[in-house]
């Protein structure tokens, strides 16, 4: 067992809306060790991004988090810290890379300034050394001509380069936890792999822990140690990556996997999309939230929400898990 960096216990995040309370994250627990990467997979609206913001404590004003939810980072319970105390942790202990690098950098500040301000605020560096360090960071994330680029503005950089800058900002203060919230979704396919490789290398080199949020099962496959599949604000299956792919138990995970088109498929084959839509999170259905869309669902699935459990590291929230029909 390595050192536990992050321990999330029963995280619930709800939003007060005009129609009622929307439970975006509904009782999520997991731990993350130093040097490891947790992949969080799910379709749009499954609560992945809200989960990442709940960990960073960057939630909007209409959000409600009950007091039994805990986020423990390096032994500190973030839910008990004041805004000022949290501010000191954002950067040096936890950092985030957002989805869209076209909008996540400030258009009126040079990229150098945007890196330097983190170093100056958190590390107490002076302007000169901070600039040198910024150039060094830009070099580390593989930005060509870092000493020129440092004075440029975001609009002078391509999407892939901007995401490298965003990564440089995130790793500037050597955080223990890096959250990558769909870091490649807005990028060209050709640079996606480069950015993911870069993230992976940074995690290895700097011995961080990473939460890699994505809706792409393919991204998770080669790059994570463990994978959590989210649906309707809950983790519905969690396992070491190899185990999850080889021994899928939750029908939702199986459906996600089979919806990826394969190179070996004959041309013009219909995509295996999942029928129906994700449930309404304001008035969730009784029982398993996936039951209305599940091919294997029976009446027992609608009785109550199945808990996330299972032997050892492989856990799943399903009344009728795959691979057990024969045994039963």
């Amino acid at each position: 067992m390595g050192e536990i960096i992050l321990d999330v216990r029963n995280q619930r995040t709800a939003f007060a809306t005009a129609r009622g309370m929307l439970n975006a994250v509904d009782g999520v627990s997991f731990t993350l060790e130093r040097g490891k990467t947790l992949g969080v997979v799910g379709e749009s609206g499954s609560g992945k991004s809200v989960l990442s913001r709940s960990v960073m404590r960057l939630l909007p004003g209409n959000s409600v988090v009950p007091s039994d939810s805990k986020v423990i980072l390096n032994g500190k319970d973030l839910t008990r810290l004041s805004e000022t105390e949290l501010r000191r942790l954002r950067g040096p202990e936890m950092a985030i890379v957002f989805q869209d690098p076209m909008t996540s950098l400030n258009p009126v500040l040079s990229i150098g300034k945007q890196i330097m301000e983190v170093l100056m605020f958190h590390m107490g560096m002076k302007k000169g050394p901070a600039k040198e360090k910024a150039v060094e960071l830009l070099r580390a994330v593989g930005l060509p001509q870092p000493d020129v680029r440092v004075n440029q503005y975001p609009h002078q950089l391509s999407g892939g380069m901007r995401q490298r800058v965003a990564i440089a900002i995130a790793i500037a203060c050597e955080p223990d936890l890096l959250i990558a919230d769909e870091p490649t979704t807005a990028l060209d396919v050709t640079v996606q792999a480069e950015i993911l490789d870069l993230l992976q290398r940074m995690v290895k080199e700097r011995n961080m822990a990473m939460i890699l949020i994505t809706h792409d099962m393919g991204v998770v496959a080669g790059r994570c140690d463990e994978v959590a599949v989210m649906y309707a604000g809950r983790i519905v299956e969690k396992a070491p990556v190899r185990e999850l792919f080889n021994n899928t138990r939750m029908p939702y995970t199986a459906a996600l996997l089979s919806s990826i088109p394969k190179v070996t498929d004959p041309p013009h084959r219909k995509l295996d999309a999942i029928e129906g839509r994700p449930p309404d999170l304001i008035n969730p259905p009784q029982g398993c939230p996936f039951a209305p869309r599940c091919k294997f669902a029976g009446p027992e699935c609608e009785e109550q929400v199945p808990p996330l459990e299972g032997p050892g590291a492989h856990q799943y929230a399903c009344v009728k898990p795959l691979g057990e029909e024969v045994a039963a």
Partner: protein
Amino acid sequence: MRYLLYRLRRLAIVLAAVTFVTFLLVNVLPGDVAYEMAGMDSSEEEVQEIREELGLDRPVVIRYFEWVGGVFVGDWGTSFISSEDVWHAVTDRFPVSFELMLLAQILALAMAIPAGMASAFRPNGRADRIIGALAFASVSMPSFMTAILLIFVFALGLGWLPATGYEPLSSGLWANLKPMILPALSLALVEWTILMRTLRVEMISVLQENYIALARAKGMSNLRILWVHALRPSSFSMITLLGLQVARLLGGTIIIEQIFGIPGVGRLLIHAVYTRDFVVIQGCVTFFALAFVTANFLVDIAYAWLDPRVRTRGSHG
């Protein structure tokens, strides 16, 4: 460079249009400067005589071009009433009006920026509602009424500042500023609300941007986020308004200068309008147009400073 030439061409067009239209308007007004010069009890013949002497009986267009020709050789004409050289009359007084306008805009910005930020930080929060109510009260009062209230409170009541008067800059910065504060404030109290509401709206949407979320995730303080990350991208509309407001301020200064007894262009212009002293009117109006165009030119430069994207576009094109 090409941009500058383009600007100058526009300046020429604006000046030509403004001066010609004022020339026409003064001409359309009943009565002329000849009546004023001849005096109350003069006969129609005497007035006509003066008119012919001054060349006022000739067509408007010809007189206009005569005036334009004069300006090009540095002859702005001489006041019919006071026989003062117009160039001197205007350049003596214009800096005073200019100082008043500049102070008013600085005060307006100094109020609008912090208030707009505080409002935008929590829209519909307590600060926003208090500032909104204050702004509404302040914009509802015309500047001349605000001026009288300010005189009543700060000059007559508290005796902190003089009610009227003007001191040149040569008698010291504070001596110069002291009598200017109340007049500038009377103008600013109307202008700041418009700037503030504009900044507020734009900043509310900027604060929703991803780069603001990233600044928060970087651990930046709220103050730093507002001043460093959000202010510049939020101030485009406000800066545009700042330039356009110069036109309104020019009108405002005329009234305020009357109330506070400030020897600016305003008083010169009002007197000239009453006496139909058109060369003086022309001189003032030309300076006003110049001031307006210059202010908006500065606004364009400010865009480039505010947004690096404008800068690079300029250097390519």
